[in-house]
């Protein structure tokens, strides 16, 4: 019957992509320090997603903080020092 065949094909397709998704999710788990350091093997999808989002937010914040730090450093560098000249020639 055509409907059964199409249902089986659907099941076959979704099985392949579930494996792919599982593989990608495990790669994600490897990347995120929060989850990688946990002992337990089974982490739920929603946990992976939440930790991923938190991790990305933290990385965004770090970029912002580092930009702050660097801009302050360039402001506060004593203009006569040799180091200042090096840094300035590097960046400006």
């Amino acid at each position: 019957m055509s409907s059964r065949r199409s249902r089986m094909r659907q099941a076959g397709v979704s099985r392949i992509s579930e494996d792919q998704i599982a593989d990608l999710v495990s790669k994600l788990q490897q990347l995120i320090p929060e989850i990688r350091n946990r002992r337990s093997d089974r982490v739920s999808a929603s946990e992976v997603l939440q930790e991923t989002c938190n991790y990305i937010k933290n990385l965004h914040r770090e970029v912002d903080d580092l930009s702050d730090r660097l801009s302050q450093l360039l402001e506060s560098i004593d203009s006569d020092s040799a180091q200042a000249a090096i840094i300035r020639s590097l960046l400006m």
């Binding site: 992509s17 792919q20 998704i21 990608l24 999710v25 790669k27 994600l28 490897q30 990347l31 995120i32 739920s44 999808a45 929603s46 997603l49 939440q50 991923t52 989002c53 991790y55 990305i56 937010k57 990385l59 965004h60 770090e62 970029v63 912002d64 580092l66 930009s67 702050d68 730090r69 660097l70 801009s71 302050q72 450093l73 360039l74 402001e75 506060s76 560098i77 004593d78 020092s81 180091q83 200042a84 090096i86 840094i87 590097l90 960046l91 400006m92």
Partner: protein, 191 residues
């Protein structure tokens, strides 16, 4: 999109070179910057640099570059940076929309049909628990989409692949910026 699970020294070097180039071009643009302008120069150059390491091969990098270029003042600056390298490609949303609408309506039909079948097999409590879990995943996926540039139109495997690449790139960006910041701090302190 080539998969990239670890990051190499050459990638960090490429980012550093492009980042510094961007800061230099920006400084030539605006001669006397206050501290806020300087921060913007540093951050904007860093974002453009890390996006350009992907050579427009990922959605997040194209979206990030396009978003920065949308601002009129930034556009001239961006064009100068990319003058000798890759072109800034524009995303074509309209073509994607029609196809995704068709797929979305098919999914909605299939989902409602499957829920009915499952309710008959699993019993109401299990169905409720699973639907709560699904809602959680759905809401968190929505947050993820808002965090990854260009994520709003992606789903499933593509979203996860883009997320992986984006996270690896962000880590390179943070790593190099952090090292430059500590090197600069140490050198001024040693006086």
């Amino acid at each position: 999109m080539k998969a990239r699970t670890g990051y190499s020294t050459s990638l960090k070097q490429e980012f550093l070179k492009k980042w510094i180039k961007g800061i230099r071009i920006y400084s030539n643009f605006k001669k006397d910057m206050n501290i806020l302008e300087r921060k913007k120069a540093i951050k904007l150059s860093a974002d453009l640099a890390i996006a350009s390491t992907r050579n427009a091969s990922t959605r997040w990098s194209r979206t990030l570059t396009a978003n920065i270029s949308k601002n009129e003042t930034n556009k001239i600056f961006v064009e100068q940076i990319f003058s000798d390298s890759e072109v800034i490609k524009k995303e074509a949303p309209s073509r994607l929309m029609a196809r995704s609408n068709r797929i979305a309506s098919k999914k909605i039909w299939r989902r409602s049909h499957i829920t009915q079948i499952k309710a008959r097999k699993m019993g109401p409590y299990a169905v409720k628990a699973r639907s709560i879990a699904k809602k959680l995943v759905k809401n968190r996926t929505k947050v993820l989409k808002s965090l990854v540039p260009g994520g709003e139109n992606m789903d499933g495997i593509s979203l996860i692949k883009e997320t992986l690449d984006y996270i690896v790139s962000l880590r390179v960006q943070v790593d190099v910026m952090r090292r430059l910041a500590s090197a600069a701090e140490n050198s001024t302190r040693s006086l």
